[in-house]
Amino acid sequence: MADQPVVHVAHLQKRFGQVQAVADVSFEVFPGEIFGLLGPNGAGKTTTIRMMLDIFRPDGGAVSIFGGPMEEAKKPRIGYLPEERGLYRDPKLEPTLLYLAQLKGLEPAEARRRLEAWLRRFDLYEHRAKKVKELSHGMQQKAQLIAALIHEPELLIIDEPFAGLDPVNTRLVKTIIKEQAAAGRTVIMSTHQLHQVEALCERIALIHEGRTVLYGELAAIKQRFAGEAVEVAGEGDFASLAGVRSAQRVDGGWHLVLDAGTTPQVLLRQIAARDDLTVHRFEVAYPSLDDIFIAVVAGQEAVGHA
């Protein structure tokens, strides 16, 4: 990453009374990437975002947005979908979104033009004259996403974007997030639904109990936690291979856990040398983010208890 980071967060700390909401969070986000800020509920993700946006003042650490502290002039460059959703309830949908778009610096005519396109995209156009309180939870969520996107921000921060969405709308939101990144915009996505980000994020920071416990490229992290197992589909008794500590039949294939010192390459050479084994598929068994998270947390607790 040769570019200057859009967001630089260094050793952030925040305490609310007796609760240390954020203890030590650090990460950088670069232009045009989709960055995942991950962690279970209560990990400190939302507090970190609020400190990034100067809603909260950190007790310690530093935040840099677009190369400096958060300032009024930078607000129109940022789109934000907060975790605590909400819109004015009594006004109608269209004027409410026009108001929010104008606060982000759009001229009324331009805001109206863009809004129509977004309303159609999110299947809300027919509901534009309804009062916000008459819309379903999912519709209100989509409306807020429009408010975060309409001014085409350089940095889009979306907190739990899939919460409350059905599968169809979840797919739509994923598509839009990818489009934003393809258009050169930076996206920070915070979620506790780790599986949702696997296909979206290039890099992640995993936060647990207010600390960054994993940070970096998703592929590298998976690589780091992989290596001890392979998935094989084919014919023959794969359990008989040397260096296989345990073998399990999974969905018609094999999940082979390797001994220490046995690499997938060594195993593949063995299979190729044997006539009684036929391979249809061979791949390193990458753990899911959920598995990695559990492994990391379990490791931390083990260290903590030692």
């Binding site: 609310f16 946006l53 907060p82 819109l87 006004p91 108001y99 606060l103 610096g105």
Partner: protein
């Protein structure tokens, strides 16, 4: 530039949101209309003529055989003359006339007129008509039209103060009416609007739009915009009520026989101008104080309890009304003229009671306006402090600490 635009957008949005509420429409147009209807209804019944003529017996010989009719009462039927009291009384009993006026032989000396009534009495309008009827027939013998007119209309007093030549005296009553009207309207608005002023940011706090707004504009733009928008709402109410007063005034002024004169020189333009000039910053100050309180209140109940104390500072002129009236140039009255929450009404009262030097009016307005603007900034800082403590409660110590620091507010 961006901040000014944001203030304007918020103010316009706040204004639009408020004026589309049913409660606003009801208060702005419904309430005065209701008062107007009730007032008109009462006036109508008080002044309603019976449609029947009045009768009179002229034992004093002051009304000629072919009497003159008053110019302003052309819709009243001409009074019927009776030769004696008994026949007149009989006509009252039979319902032929609504009342019988008897002018005794010593009327010119005593001025006494006896009115005989039956089941009902002549209305105020009918009584005024008969008084005018006697007056115009009494002066009908005067040849000089100007003298006759003066006798009918009486003198018109115009008194000017020695120091400034400013009109007083004759327009004193109207000036007093303006002061009382200003006080009534201001306190009415204070009562009607303090709750929604207190709730100005409560909506955003409750519906959780606060984070979206805060990441779009500054707290100052939000609070100043809201303050201006809500002041514009109050101004709309004020103007609509003012319009109704003017319409009511015109209605009564243009009625036949009305004693109200439509003379622009009698309108206390100075008092009205001062009232208007002081109303805006006074209300803005009230709005800013309530918004500040609402911004840091954890719930509506807490805010309402504290707002009662704030309201008291606006009611203060009423506690000292006797001292202000008896000594409008005294230290207390002058001092209260420079205190932001009391300046408006104290100055209005002082102007009615005597002469207020222009430098005092100007200084009072400057102090008031600066206070209103300053209070808006304080409200924005309060709001920012609340935001920083979002979700974790707020202590007075924190408010003090941040006000002292004032960072990012």
């Amino acid at each position: 530039m961006r901040e000014r635009r944001a203030v304007w957008i918020v103010a316009r949005h706040e204004y639009g949101r408020m004026v589309h509420r049913k409660a606003f429409l009801l208060m702005t147009f419904g309430l005065p209309l209701l008062y107007l209807v009730i007032f008109a209804f009462i006036i109508f019944f008080i002044s309603r003529g019976s449609g029947m003529p009045l009768g009179y017996v002229d034992l004093a010989g002051v009304i000629p055989a072919s009497p003159q009719m008053p110019e302003m009462f052309d819709r009243e039927p001409p009074p019927v003359a009776f030769p004696d009291v008994e026949s007149g009384k009989e006509a009252v009993r039979n319902g032929e006339i609504v009342g019988l006026y008897v002018l005794p032989s010593d009327y010119l000396r005593s001025g006494e007129v006896v009115l005989y009534v039956g089941e009902r009495s002549p209305s105020e309008e009918e009584q005024s008509f008969f008084a005018e009827f006697i007056r115009c027939n009494l002066v009908s013998g005067v040849k000089d039209e100007a003298v006759r007119r003066r006798l009918l209309d009486g003198p018109r007093y115009v008194t000017r103060t020695v120091e400034t030549g400013r009109l007083s005296g004759g327009v004193h009553v109207v000036g007093l009416a303006v002061a009382i009207g200003a006080a009534v309207v201001f306190y009415l608005l204070l009562m009607l609007s303090s709750n929604y002023l207190l709730q100005a940011v409560a909506d955003e706090k409750a519906n959780r739009t606060i984070e979206m707004l805060f990441t779009s504009i500054s707290p100052r733009a939000l609070i100043v915009g809201k303050g201006l928008g809500l002041t514009a709402v109050a101004l709309t109410q004020l103007l609509s009520w003012g319009m109704m007063v003017v319409l009511g005034f015109l209605y009564f002024a243009l009625r036949p026989g009305s004693s109200i004169t439509l003379d622009p020189s009698l309108i206390p333009w100075g008092d009205l101008g001062i009232a208007f000039l002081f109303f805006l910053p006074s209300y803005l100050l009230l709005a800013a104080m309530m918004i500040a309180l609402g911004a840091v209140s954890e719930d509506a109940r807490q805010g309402q309890q504290l707002s009662a104390f704030l309201s008291l500072s606006f009611y203060a002129p009423l506690f000292f009304i006797t001292q202000i009236i008896t000594d409008p140039g005294g230290a207390l009255a002058v001092g209260l003229s420079f205190f932001p929450t009391t300046a408006f009404l104290v100055l209005m009262i002082r102007r009615v009671m005597g002469v207020v030097p222009w430098w005092q009016v100007a200084l009072s307005w400057v102090v008031l306006t600066a206070s209103a603007a300053g209070m808006l900034i304080v409200a924005a800082r309060f709001f920012r402090v609340w935001m920083l403590r979002y979700g974790s409660g707020l202590s007075l110590r924190k408010v003090r600490e941040w006000l002292r620091g004032g960072r990012h507010a």
